[in-house]
């Protein structure tokens, strides 16, 4: 592990000043990604600015019935906040199905959004990986790619975005609020995660020293009946092969509103807009759900070991919609 310097920020402006004072500086929140990746030699950070004393841990009500989640709120605290459980059960469930209790006690919401892929070829430090070493190639293309993405991929990278809660947040059109050297910004959730294209090393449209301060989740009555389902190789403490956040509303016997997002299949948290568009105005039955799911998966690009995700994702969408329709909790 390379040597580090460490400083504690006292407020947001102090944090930004410290983070922009020298290159190779990263913010330290829960540390579950950053410390791990520095030790593994993947993160090049040489200076850490500890932001844990910043007052960014609250979950507050927004005027439209939505929530403002502080960037330093811990995953476990957000998952168990009554307003989250009641208004956005899929967010709570996604958080509780991620990582382990110890990691959820440590990991912050802002850090969750900036966590990096668990692609083994990024982490091993030696395989060709365009994220780690641009231009070196992508070992996953012809390698063991069972866990890799089928949406948003390129010939440069097929790494899956690992977050669970980001899947629920993209379904509800969350907005990421930042403060940086150039002031405050609000970034639409979908825009915060860049597709790999030919620059997979660029993951977020965020400037050096720019700090996530919070996540706004707009008010959405449909979200009260939302579910999050996760399918994985073991029952607990494992990343998703496929996951789904789903919520559906029916009016006069037809689908009037629907939200669907997928995890484990995209290079970014994947909002299933095609499936949503296909469903509105249709009867809320399994045939419609199946047909909408098929529309979403039509453009999937599979590799040698991950073709099973196409069928699994369709079944996940159908089950997620059925569970939301039936008012199940998960």
């Amino acid at each position: 592990m390379r040597p580090l310097t460490y400083s504690r920020a006292t407020d947001v402006q102090d944090a930004i000043a410290l983070a922009t004072a020298q290159p190779a500086t990263a913010f330290l929140a829960g540390g579950t990604t950053e410390v791990d990746l520095i030790r593994a030699g993947i993160s090049a950070s040489e200076h850490l600015v500890d932001i844990n004393e910043l007052p960014l841990r609250q979950v507050e009500d927004l005027a439209d019935g939505g929530l403002r989640i502080g960037a330093l709120a811990r995953m476990n605290d957000v998952a168990r906040t009554a307003s989250v459980v009641q208004r956005y059960p899929a967010i709570s469930r996604a958080l509780l199905l991620g990582a382990s209790e110890q990691l959820r006690n440590m990991a912050s919401m802002g850090g969750n959004l900036r966590q990096r892929t668990r692609c083994a070829y990024l982490r091993d430090g030696v395989s060709p990986c365009n994220k780690r070493e641009p231009g070196s190639g992508c070992a996953a293309l012809e390698g063991f790619n069972r866990g890799h993405a089928i949406f948003g991929t390129s010939e440069y990278c097929i790494a899956t975005h690992p977050s669970d809660v980001a899947v629920a947040l993209v379904a509800f059109d969350a907005v990421i609020r930042t403060v940086g050297p150039d002031g405050e910004r609000a970034i639409a959730f979908d825009d915060f995660f860049l597709l790999p294209g030919d620059t997979p090393q660029l993951e977020h449209p965020i400037a050096p020293g720019e700090l996530i301060v919070g996540i706004d989740v707009p008010g959405a009555p449909i979200a009260r009946g939302s579910v999050y389902l996760k399918f994985r190789d073991r029952q607990s403490y494992e990343f998703a092969l496929v996951s789904v956040a789903a919520a559906i509303e029916v009016d006069d016997g037809l689908v009037s509103g629907v939200r669907i997002a997928l995890g484990g299949v995209g290079t970014k948290p994947w909002r299933a807009r095609r499936a949503e568009a296909a469903l509105v105005g249709q009867p809320p039955d399994e045939a419609s759900f199946r047909s909408a799911a098929a529309a979403e998966l039509a453009d999937a690009v599979v590799r040698e070991h991950n073709a099973f995700k196409v069928e699994l994702a369709q079944r996940a969408i159908v089950r997620g919609l059925v569970h939301s329709l039936q008012g199940r909790q998960s």
Binding site: R2, P3, Y6, D36, I38, E101, Q102, M106, Q235
Partner: protein, 166 residues
Amino acid sequence: MTSVEEAVTKVPVPLEINGRQEVVVLEPRVSLLDALREHLDLTGSKKGCDQGTCGSCTVWIDGRRVLACLTLAVAAAGHEIVTIEGLADGDQLHAMQRAFIEYDAFQCGYCTSGQIMSAVKVIEEGNATTDEDISEYMSGNICRCAAYPNIRAAIRHVRDQAGGRS
């Protein structure tokens, strides 16, 4: 010319561990786990994976179970740390420690201190109602000897003894 190693600045890090104030002089990159094991002679917390996946380094910070391997010691300054060494009351073992012995909840023992630090909390958190819950909320502690059934039995025993509290 100074090498990078020589240029590294060590800093005094005040740590409150098991109710005692300690000051260790460390590089900022040193994990809490290494500070405990290598600098404070508290070797009960174990280093299994050193990457936050096995749970054998589980300690409590401000009353919550966390991983000492992914915590920098310098970042833990100002917080209350409890390790497995702080669990017993003198020679009187904690109920969970006794239960692990009684129910043979380990084989090689390497993961055991982390298992116990999690097990106490899983009851305190109210997540030990069913075996399914115990498995789910203990999933961050891996046991390569697969002593899981006996670990669950020990947790059930303490849960029932304590009427749901630790």
